[in-house]
């Protein structure tokens, strides 16, 4: 299409050049014609003037004025001679002399409207004097006189002195006739130029309209940022190695809409976009990605540049400090930003955008009003040989995500009463990769969600097969995460009859936030018969308040307290107090990390319900 446009443009320019060439050629022909005609008539006039001069000299001895004044017949005869030459072109032929006052007066007049002898004629004295003084002919172009074209002035010399001047006036009709003869050609050019002008005007107008429509089609009307139409085109043409990608989301935007209405939401969106625009540069690209999400392409200075991070922080701080005045209210808004610093390391731009989105997701999960950027992309394996997102993705695709199961024994009966499912990656060389090698890199990403789904599906398969309780490990943040929570509920719905065999172990190392949401969600999970266990209790951020606020069924005492319980009095006493408290609250206790007979026997004395550890059973791929 572009080539076609270029071709049309070339043809159009060629036509214009050809017409311009023709126009100038025609003008040139007209000028040459005029010049030639002029030359012909001037030569004619020259020879007539010379003849007249000779004729006068042949009849007059010394002073034409005096002699003609006294010889009326001679005057009449000479004027008759002059009148013979008068025609359409040589309009006036007359002879003037210069009086003592420097005025020019008739001595002979061969024209039709004949003047009197000695009558004065107003002439351009400067030119006539020139003829008188230089005794040379002068050709005058009569540009100021409408009816005259050229005047040919020729001196009449007697004894080396100019005594009179022969004047031949050319009528202006001849050049006018030439102009009229050529005028149809000129008219054609005028019409062509008007047509071209009209065409160009239409083209300019259409281009303007087309540009306007194009701009409107790629611009978000509310924020004046580019929209997804533009993004679609941009993704096809952009050299992503020159950019860093920033994904920005307005925190708690839904609350603005809910509390202040959609108009307030629109106001926040447009103002936020304006604030972002003020913080980015001209060569950065702002796109409204959808809803309250913005995608920003930051032109980077160098491949390892932290530029996007700095700009993101600037935007975040600017928006955080801004007072959004809407009607009577002052609103305070924060934004979360995820950055993909090296988008060129991804297979596609969409993947790098997805990565920026994942970083945004982390920023949200970390409490919002944050900027998250991973300079070293998880696309590549890091120095500790930990697995990358792609490794985990690949394992998910190849069904190489498996669970090992570690038995949990009842202390009283010594029988296996349940298992803890522990996720592993089965490598292509059959080796097994533990979770510590890959969980960190996929945390807060969609891959983590997929992994959770796979683990739950594996566990339910085992429950269906073995009809035994199996616990899985999740984080509190997983429960708070809408996607993971929905995924859990979906799985529970699908395996409703098996749900009562499932235990969810919640890792306690995270600070509890949004308690009411966690309470609601655990309540819903428990409605399917699922048991809730608190994992690693007694270490990290252990807080007794959780007994008050969470519906806990099982308490798994942290391995760091159990492993030296047989030798450390402090550990013993802590575990003892936990056990007593749990018994009082009707919560079952599990001692983890039972690695020796001594530990097992010591735990037995503390009235703990269940035990788990390498001494009793190692995690195995099968139950």
């Amino acid at each position: 299409m572009r080539h076609l446009n270029k071709l049309y443009f070339s043809i159009f320019v060629s036509i214009i050049i050809a017409i311009a060439y023709l126009f100038f050629s025609t003008s040139n022909i007209q000028m040459t014609l005029n010049k030639n005609v002029e030359e012909i008539f001037i030569n004619g006039a020259k020879s007539f003037a010379q003849n007249i001069s000779e004729d006068i000299k042949s009849h007059i001895k010394e002073d034409p004025f005096k002699e003609l004044k006294n010889h009326k017949n001679l005057q009449k005869n000479l004027e008759q001679t002059l009148s013979v030459i008068v025609n359409e072109t040589y309009k006036y032929i007359f002879v003037l002399y210069r009086d003592n006052h420097g005025n020019y007066r008739y001595i002979l007049d061969g024209s039709k409207d004949k003047a009197h002898f000695n009558q004065r004629l107003s002439v351009n004295k400067e030119l006539w004097d020139k003829v008188y003084n230089t005794q040379k002919a002068v050709i005058v172009n009569q540009k100021k006189l409408d009816h005259l074209w050229i005047t040919y002035l020729h001196p009449v010399i007697f004894n080396g002195k100019t005594k009179a001047v022969v004047a031949i006036d050319f009528s202006a009709k001849l050049p006018k006739n030439i102009c009229q003869a050529i005028s149809p050609l000129n008219k054609i050019f005028i019409y062509i130029f008007i047509a071209i002008g009209f065409l160009v005007s239409i083209l300019i107008y259409q281009t303007f309209i087309s540009m306007k429509i194009k701009k409107e089609s790629i611009t978000d009307q509310l924020t004046n940022a580019y929209n997804r139409n533009y993004l679609r085109d941009l993704l096809q043409s952009i050299d992503i190695s020159k950019y860093q990608i920033m994904m920005l989301d307005i925190d708690y935007f839904k609350q603005v809409n809910d509390n202040y209405g959609h108009k307030a939401g629109d106001y926040i969106l447009s103002r936020t976009a304006k604030l972002i625009k003020n913080e980015i540069r001209e060569n950065d690209i702002l796109v409204r990605f959808g809803g309250e999400e913005f995608l920003i392409f930051i032109k980077k200075a160098s491949s390892r540049s932290k530029l996007a991070y700095d700009i993101a922080q600037r935007i975040r701080k600017r928006i955080e400090s801004h007072h959004f005045l809407y009607e009577q209210d002052t609103l305070h808004i924060t934004v979360s930003i995820g950055i993909s610093c090296q988008p060129e390391h991804f297979k596609t731009i969409s993947e790098s955008i997805k990565y920026a989105d994942e970083m945004l997701y982390i920023a949200k999960r970390k409490g919002r009003n944050q900027v998250v950027s991973h300079i070293i992309d998880t696309k590549t394996t890091n120095l500790n040989n930990k697995k990358s997102i792609n490794d985990v993705k690949s394992a998910l695709e190849d069904n190489r995500i498996i669970c090992f199961y570690q038995a949990i024994h009842d202390l009283k009966t010594n029988k296996i009463i349940k298992y803890e499912a522990l996720v592993r990656i089965k490598e292509k060389d059959e080796s097994i990769t533990p979770p510590m090698m890959f969980l960190e890199s996929i945390m807060y990403t969609n891959v983590y969600n997929d992994l959770t789904k796979t683990v739950l599906e594996n566990v339910f398969k085992q429950i269906q097969k073995q009809h035994i309780q199996i616990s899985v490990n999740l984080n509190f943040s997983d429960i708070l995460d809408n996607k993971i929570f929905m995924l859990i509920i979906e799985e529970l719905k699908q395996h409703k009859e098996l749900s009562s065999w499932l235990i969810i172990e919640l890792l306690e190392y995270e600070l509890l936030e949004e308690i009411s949401t966690i309470q609601e969600r655990l309540k819903e999970i428990k409605s399917y018969g699922v048991k809730i266990a608190i994992d690693d209790f007694g270490s990290g951020y252990s807080n007794y308040e959780i007994f008050k606020i969470l519906p806990i069924d099982i308490l798994k005492i942290d391995g760091s307290l159990i492993k030296d319980i047989d030798t450390s009095l402090i550990s013993y006493k802590i575990v003892h107090s936990i056990s007593v408290l749990a018994k009082e609250l009707g919560i079952k206790t599990v001692a983890e990390f039972v690695h020796s007979k001594n530990v097992l026997e010591t735990v037995r004395t503390l009235n703990i319900d269940e035990v788990q550890g390498f001494y009793l059973a190692k995690p195995l791929p099968k139950i």
């Binding site: 409207d113 003047a115 004065r120 004629l121 409408d146 009816h147 005028i190």
Partner: protein
Amino acid sequence: MVQFGVSILKKIIFLLLIATVLFSSDLKTEQKIYKLIIHALLPNKKDIKVWSDTKSKENLLRGIDDIVYVSSPTKANFVLLSKDKKTNKDVIKFVTNIQLLEAQQNNVVGGFFWQKGRPNILFLRRNLKEHNITLPESMQEYIEDEI
């Protein structure tokens, strides 16, 4: 439709050009000359009243900004004649052609006319004297003792 519009537009432009050339160029030149002549003949007169016996010259005189055109030659102090017409002797008379100048050479102070395509001004010394008119230096060269 577009061609018709262009044609009309072109005609209008052409007519405007013609009008500009005909009515602004020559007319303005002639007006300027008459203005100079009138002021040269009536240098101390504040309210110059003029009259002409032809419509074209009337229009021309009406276009001069600092003089007043009057409806009758009796009210005027400058009369521009194109025809051989008797008027009050005291008024300053000026003619527009050489033939009339010759015919009225005892009554008129001068004339402005075109000869051989050139503008010609001519004042008659005797008649200027009768009206006690002294022309400025720039006009002196146009004074003739006789035609």
